[in-house]
């Protein structure tokens, strides 16, 4: 469903992505990990065109993202995205946050959007908080609202950019639970995260990045069982040894 071929990107003379090739099939969950500064956040943002690329090709279903003529807004309305810092809209209530895209992008009626929003908020366990403003919620709750906001668009795939790294430890599991449930329901997901427990539980494949390159792209069992590269081994031993 998502296909990346030889994707490269530069910030000035600094190369952030170097010939990255990978794919996500329908219903697949792919976890992207790697040390900070390895380009994994940049990589996931290229999928829906939030970051442009200079070389290579990205295709989502039939749409070529890297083509200048592509209607990115239409593409983005079909791919949900969850950010590290939640990025809920602070001037709108939780309910309005989930309704906004449905109404302004998909053109759904107010009542339909509202029903859908309430349903999804219930699904992420926040039905009681619909009338609150984002800042009145905890980080974990905000992130679950953000997931609901993405799901409200009936996406064909969900992108997660370090969804738990800005959270206090005790809230991480609430968010991961929602994500695991989503994976089990068959959602196509690309997830940048350090949560190896999550990867072991639901990932189909793991992509390991370092210095802008994809070093390893393997099934979950191969990656955790016998990572081939030294760097992946070092990375795993560092984050798992504590």
């Amino acid at each position: 469903m998502i296909l990346m071929e030889n994707v490269s990107k530069w910030y000035g003379s600094f190369q952030v992505l170097n010939g990255c090739t990978t794919s996500v099939s329908k219903g697949e969950v792919v976890v992207v990990c790697g040390p900070s500064g390895s380009g994994k956040s940049t990589l996931i943002k290229t999928v829906n065109g939030l970051e442009t690329i200079q070389e290579g090709k990205i295709t989502v279903e039939e749409t070529i993202v890297s083509n200048r003529k592509t209607n990115l807004n239409q593409l983005r309305s079909r791919i949900g995205m969850v950010f590290q810092n939640f990025e809920l809209f602070p001037h709108m209530s939780v309910l309005e946050n989930v309704k906004l895209g449905q109404m302004k992008v998909l053109g759904r009626a107010d009542s339909e959007s509202e029903n859908k929003a309430k349903l999804l908020l219930d699904r992420v366990g926040l039905a009681d908080h619909a009338a609150k403003f984002p800042s009145q919620l905890s980080g974990g709750q905000q992130q679950r609202v953000a997931i609901a906001r993405g799901l409200a668009m009936d996406p064909i795939a969900m992108l997660f950019d370090e969804p738990t790294s800005a959270l206090d430890p005790e809230m991480i599991n609430d968010v991961l639970d929602v994500m695991v449930e989503l994976a089990n329901d068959g959602m196509t997901m690309m997830v940048v995260t350090h949560e190896m427990g999550f990867a072991k539980k639901v990932a189909d494949r793991v992509v390991f990045m370092d210095e802008g390159k994809i070093i390893e792209d393997a099934t979950k069992d191969d990656f955790f069982g016998s990572p081939r590269s030294d760097r992946a081994q070092q990375f795993l031993s560092k984050i798992l040894s504590y």
Binding site: K45, N48, L50, L72, N73, Q74, L75, R76, S77, R78, I79, G80, M81, F83, N85, E87, L88, F89, P90, H91, L100, G101, K104, V105, L106, F133, P134, S135, Q136, A146, R149, G150, M153
Partner: protein, 239 residues
């Protein structure tokens, strides 16, 4: 210090009406110019944060041009030079027939000048809302225009309520420059009272009190507005 006090002068006909008249001019100039500055400044501020490099350049050029020439010089350029540069017919109309030339010119000059300052406030407000919010809006498929309408601007304007108010007060004070091209607003009126009566102390005191009162009233109104538009967790920008 020898001086004949006569505070009663301020309440005597016609001087009290001069003061009222002057204040009316001052407020009318300030409000009209602020409307121009707000509209144009917002457009320029949006341009300066746009993804289009040409729009950004136009915004930047406008700001640099208008904030690096003294307001009084700009006023003179609009009043004395601009009509000469127009085609003959239009130039004659501006010079001879345009209603209230001093007032119109002041409003225009003050509005265009302050737009450059407002542009910077709007820009800093939008930048304070942040790239993350912009991305979040784009990620659900909102077009650039809708990202501005539904997300960036509502937050940016809330953040910059205080700076927008001080810009209004700046216009309010700057409207006194109108007296140089013959619009006798509040400061001009008090100067005129001084010249007619030699009671400069009383006249200037009256203007001082009026300016301070209006300023503090506007500040009070601003605090009220900030409270009414408050969204939990929103931080206000520093002045």
């Amino acid at each position: 210090m020898q001086y004949n006090w006569d505070w009663g002068i301020l309440f005597r006909d016609p001087y009290i009406w001069w003061l009222v008249d002057g204040l009316q001019w001052t407020l009318t100039i300030a409000i009209c110019a602020w409307v121009i500055a707000f509209c144009l400044g917002s457009i320029l501020g949006i341009m300066r944060t746009s993804i289009n490099p040409y729009l950004r350049f136009i915004g930047t050029a406008y700001v640099e041009l208008f904030r690096n020439v003294p307001l009084l010089v700009q006023l003179f350029l609009w009043y004395f030079v601009f009509p000469e540069l127009l085609p003959e017919e239009a130039g004659r109309w501006v010079k001879r027939e345009m209603p209230m030339p001093g007032f119109t010119t002041t409003v225009l000059a003050l509005g265009l000048y302050t737009a450059s300052r407002l542009c910077e406030q709007v820009r800093s407000g939008i930048e304070a809302v942040g790239i993350g919010q912009r991305n979040a809006g784009r990620a659900i498929g909102l077009s650039e225009t809708k990202v501005y309408i539904h997300i960036l601007l509502p937050n940016a304007y809330r953040i910059i309520i205080a700076p927008l108010t001080s810009e209004f007060l700046t216009i309010f004070k700057n409207s006194s420059l109108a007296l140089t091209i013959g619009v006798i607003e509040l400061t001009g009126m008090t100067r005129q009272i001084e010249e007619y009566t030699f009671q400069g102390f009383e006249a200037f005191t009256a203007a001082t009190v009026i300016y301070s009162l209006v300023t503090f009233t506007v500040m009070g109104f601003m605090l009220h507005l900030e409270k009414r538009l408050y969204v939990p967790g929103m931080i206000a920008a520093e002045k």
